[in-house]
C-alpha cells in the first residue's frame, strides 16, 4: 500500500507537471505564442525522466540542469507563482528578471540556476560533487543534459574529471532524439551516450526514460553507490521530445507528424503511469478529470497573477555583477538615472517597479 501511496503521489506530481507543461491552449507555450512572454521551452514527453530521477534523490542533493528539467524543480515543490514570475521576468522573480524564460534557479531547493550555454554545467557539477565529498555531507550531485550537449567539449571534460577525481555524481542524459532539428544520427555515430561512460571508467546504464519506475530504480541505485563509493555514474534515459525545441521552433520542418504522434499516443510517460495506476485500482477517470480541472485552474490563476505584476526596478541592471558595485558601474547607473529623468516619457516606466 505504501508503494501505492507513493506511486499516487508520484502520479499527482506528474499530472501537476502535465497540467503546467502539457496544456496546449492556453498554456505557457500559448503565452509565448501570443506574445505575453517572450519565449518558452516545453518538457512534453520527458516528464518521466524528471519525476523518476528527482524522486530517487535526497532533497538536498544539488541539481545542475540544462533547461528541460522543470519537472525536477516541480517535484521539489517549487511554487507555480515563481515559475511564472521567472517566465514573465516580473519583480517577484528571485532571479531579478535578468534571464530569458525557463532559466529557473532555487537556492533552498538546491537547484542551480540554469544558463543558456550548453554543457557548461557538467564540469561544474563535478566540482560541486568533489566539494560535497570533501565535506562528508552524504550528498551527491546530479547533472542533467541532452544527447546534443553531450557532444560539447565540456561533457568530455566533466566525465574525465569525475572519474579521475572520484566524485559522487550522477550524470543523467536525456536522450530525446533531437538537438533542435539535429537527429541523433547526425549527433553521434557510436552507441549513444551510455557507451561512452566505460571509456572514461564510469559505470553506465541505459534506461527506458518513459518508464518512470525504471528511471527511479536506476537513479536510486546510482545514488546509493555514488555516496558509498565516491564514484560517478552515467544514466542515459531514452525518451522523446514531443514538443518543439522552443517557441522559436516549428519542428514540422524536420520531422513528421506521424513520428510525433507515435510517442504522444503510444509511449507517453504520463499515460504509461496512469495505465499502471488505473490497473491497480489506485486511480480512475473521475479523479483524472477532477485533477486536470484543478490543475488548469491553478495554472491559469498563476498566469493572471504574474501578468499583473510590475517588472523589476531598472537599478537591478547594475547590481550583482560583482558582490559590491564598482565605481564604473555606479557611474553607469547614475548616467541611466539622469537619462530617464530627461527622456523618461519614451520608456514604459509605469511597467517597472520604482
Amino acid at each position: 500500500m505504501a508503494a501505492a501511496v507513493s506511486a499516487a503521489s508520484v502520479w499527482r506530481q506528474s499530472l501537476a507537471q502535465a497540467a503546467l507543461l502539457l496544456l496546449r491552449r492556453p498554456g505557457v507555450r500559448g503565452l509565448a505564442r501570443s506574445g505575453r512572454i517572450s519565449f518558452y521551452m516545453t518538457n512534453y514527453g520527458e516528464e518521466g525522466t524528471h519525476v523518476g530521477s528527482a524522486a530517487a534523490l535526497d532533497s538536498t542533493d544539488l541539481v545542475f540542469g540544462q533547461y528541460r528539467e522543470a519537472g525536477v524543480l516541480m517535484y521539489r515543490d517549487y511554487p507555480l507563482e515563481l515559475f511564472m514570475a521567472q517566465c514573465y521576468g516580473n519583480m517577484s522573480d528571485p532571479g531579478k528578471g535578468r534571464q530569458m524564460p525557463v532559466h529557473y534557479g532555487c537556492k533552498e531547493r538546491h537547484f542551480v540556476t540554469i544558463s543558456s550555454p550548453l554543457a557548461t554545467q557538467i564540469p561544474q557539477a563535478v566540482g560541486a560533487a568533489y566539494a560535497a565529498k570533501r565535506a562528508n555531507a552524504n550528498r551527491i550531485v546530479i547533472c542533467y543534459f541532452g544527447e546534443g550537449a553531450a557532444s560539447e567539449g565540456d561533457a568530455h571534460a566533466g566525465f574525465n574529471f569525475a572519474a579521475t577525481l572520484e566524485c559522487p555524481i550522477i550524470f543523467f542524459c536525456r536522450n530525446n532524439g533531437y538537438a533542435i532539428s539535429t537527429p541523433t544520427y547526425e549527433q553521434y555515430r557510436g552507441d549513444g551516450i551510455a557507451a561512452r561512460g566505460p571509456g572514461y571508467g564510469i559505470m553506465s546504464i541505459r534506461v527506458d526514460g518513459n518508464d518512470v519506475f525504471a528511471v527511479y530504480n536506476a537513479t536510486k541505485e546510482a545514488r546509493r553507490r555514488a555516496v558509498a563509493e565516491n564514484q560517478p555514474f552515467l544514466i542515459e534515459a531514452m525518451t522523446y521530445r514531443i514538443g518543439h525545441h522552443s517557441t522559436s521552433d516549428d519542428s514540422s520542418a524536420y520531422r513528421s507528424v506521424d513520428e510525433v504522434n507515435y510517442w504522444d499516443k503510444q509511449d507517453h510517460p504520463i499515460s504509461r503511469l496512469r495505465h499502471y495506476l488505473v490497473s491497480h485500482g489506485w486511480w480512475d477517470e473521475d479523479q483524472e478529470k477532477t485533477w486536470r480541472k484543478q490543475s488548469r485552474k491553478m495554472v491559469m490563476e498563476a498566469f493572471a497573477q504574474a501578468e499583473r505584476k510590475l517588472k523589476p526596478n531598472p537599478n537591478l541592471l547594475f547590481s550583482d555583477v560583482y558582490q559590491e558595485m564598482p565605481a564604473q558601474l555606479r557611474k553607469q547607473q547614475e548616467s541611466l538615472a539622469q537619462h530617464l529623468q530627461t527622456y523618461g516619457e519614451h520608456y514604459p516606466l509605469d511597467h517597472f517597479d520604482k
Partner: protein
C-alpha cells in the same frame, strides 16, 4: 640610450605582434608649450625623438631583452619577513590560505609535484592529496570544475599552466564564472574561485609561452584581473584575490618568478584590489604600467630625468579590472601628460581603455592626442 629607442625597442623572443606601446597625451596648450621648449632644447623636435647618432654607443648596444627588477623598500607593517622570490611568495600565499581555510583546494596540471614553476612545492605533503591535486589536461575542465567547487562555497584555487592556454576556458570564465551571481539574482555565485596563471614574456617563450591576455578579460564585467610587479605585491594581491567574493584571475609575470627577490612577510597580509599605486611621484608626465613593464618604466623614468630633465610620476595599475580610474586621472590632472606601456599587442590593448577613459574624464581639459 635615447628615450625614443627605449620606447620603440622590441624584446627578443616576444610574439611578433607585441611591442612596447607608448601613447603620449598632451593636455593643455599652455602647459605643453613650456615642456615643448624644454624638449626642443634637448635636441628633440616636438613629439619626435631622434635615435642615437651612429657609432657613439657601441658599448651600450644590447643583444637581448633587458630589464632590472627593482625591489621596493621592505615593509615593516606585516611582521617578520623572509627573502623570497616571486614563486616562493606565491607558495607562501597558498600555504597561508590552505592553513586558514579548511575548504581551500589547489588544482590544475602538474601542481601535485610542485608545479612547472615550483609555485606549489611542498603543499601536497603538507595539506594532503585531497587538497592539492592534479587534474587531467583540460583547461575548460579545470575552470568549470573550479566554478563548481566555488558554487558550494568552498575555496577553489585553479592553476592554468600558461596564460597562453587559458582560451579553452574562456567560455567558462566569461559566460559562466563572470555571470553566475548576476544571472541567478544573487542566489548563486562562484566568488570563492581564483584562477592563477603564469603571464608575460620570458625571453625564449615564443608565441605560446609569453602572452598577456588581460585585454580579452577586461571586456568582461563580473571578474577581476590582477597583475603584481613583485614578490611582496604578489603575495598580498593573491591573498586578496583568494578572499575576494568575486571570481578573480591572477596573472603572475613568469620572468619575475626567479628574477624578483624581496623581503616578504611570512604571515598573511592583503593588498587592496582595484587600487593603483603611485610608486614614484613626479610632475611632468604620468607613466602607467603593470607587471614586468613597471620595472622597464622605472628605468625609463630614471633616464628621462637624467637625459631630458623630465620628472615622471609612475603608477603601477595592479588591478586591470575594475581599474582605479581616480588615481590615474588625479595624476594626469597634475602632470598633464599620460604614457601607458604594456607588453600586449597595441591594437585593442588595455592602454586604449585607459587612454579613452582618461580623455573622457570631466576634470580634464580638452586636449589633442599623439600616438607613437
Amino acid at each position: 640610450m635615447e628615450l625614443s629607442s627605449l620606447l620603440t625597442r622590441r624584446r627578443v623572443g616576444m610574439a611578433a605582434a607585441a611591442s612596447t606601446a607608448g601613447r603620449l597625451l598632451r593636455l593643455g596648450a599652455v602647459r605643453a608649450e613650456g615642456h615643448c621648449r624644454r624638449l626642443r632644447r634637448a635636441g628633440l623636435e616636438r613629439g619626435f625623438l631622434q635615435p642615437t647618432s651612429a657609432g657613439k654607443d657601441a658599448a651600450q648596444k644590447r643583444h637581448v631583452a633587458h630589464f632590472t627588477f627593482q625591489p621596493d623598500r621592505e615593509s615593516q607593517e606585516h611582521g617578520q619577513t623572509q627573502k623570497m622570490n616571486l614563486f616562493q611568495a606565491v607558495t607562501s600565499a597558498l600555504d597561508n590560505s590552505l592553513a586558514k581555510d579548511p575548504t581551500a583546494v589547489i588544482f590544475g596540471e602538474d601542481v601535485a609535484f610542485g608545479g612547472v614553476f615550483r609555485c606549489t612545492v611542498g603543499l601536497r605533503d603538507k595539506y594532503g592529496k585531497d587538497r592539492v591535486f592534479n587534474t587531467p589536461l583540460c583547461e575548460q575542465g579545470i575552470v568549470g570544475f573550479g566554478i563548481g567547487i566555488a558554487v558550494t562555497g568552498a575555496t577553489a584555487i585553479a592553476e592554468i599552466q600558461f596564460a597562453d592556454y587559458i582560451f579553452p576556458a574562456f567560455d567558462q570564465i566569461v559566460n559562466e564564472a563572470a555571470k553566475y551571481r548576476y544571472r541567478s539574482g544573487d542566489l548563486f555565485n562562484c566568488g570563492s574561485l581564483t584562477i592563477r596563471s603564469p603571464w608575460g614574456c620570458v625571453g625564449h617563450g615564443g608565441l605560446y609561452h609569453s602572452q598577456c591576455p588581460e585585454a580579452f578579460f577586461a571586456h568582461c564585467p563580473g571578474i577581476k584581473v590582477v597583475i603584481p610587479r613583485s614578490p611582496f605585491q604578489a603575495k598580498g594581491l593573491l591573498l586578496s584575490c583568494i578572499e575576494d567574493k568575486n571570481p578573480c584571475i591572477f596573472f603572475e609575470p613568469k620572468i619575475l618568478y626567479r628574477a624578483a627577490v624581496e623581503q616578504v612577510p611570512v604571515e598573511p597580509y592583503t593588498i587592496p584590489l582595484s587600487q593603483a599605486e603611485v610608486i614614484q611621484e613626479g610632475s611632468d608626465i604620468t607613466l602607467v604600467a603593470w607587471g614586468t613593464q613597471v620595472h622597464v618604466i622605472r628605468e625609463v623614468a630614471l633616464m628621462a630625468r637624467e637625459k631630458l630633465g623630465v620628472s615622471c610620476e609612475i603608477i603601477d595599475l595592479r588591478t586591470i579590472i575594475p581599474w582605479d580610474v581616480d588615481t590615474v586621472c588625479k595624476s594626469v590632472i597634475k602632470t598633464g601628460r599620460l604614457l601607458i606601456s604594456h607588453e600586449a599587442p597595441l591594437t585593442g590593448g588595455f592602454a586604449s581603455e585607459i587612454s579613452s577613459t582618461v580623455q573622457l574624464h570631466d576634470e580634464l581639459p580638452s586636449f589633442f592626442l599623439e600616438t607613437f
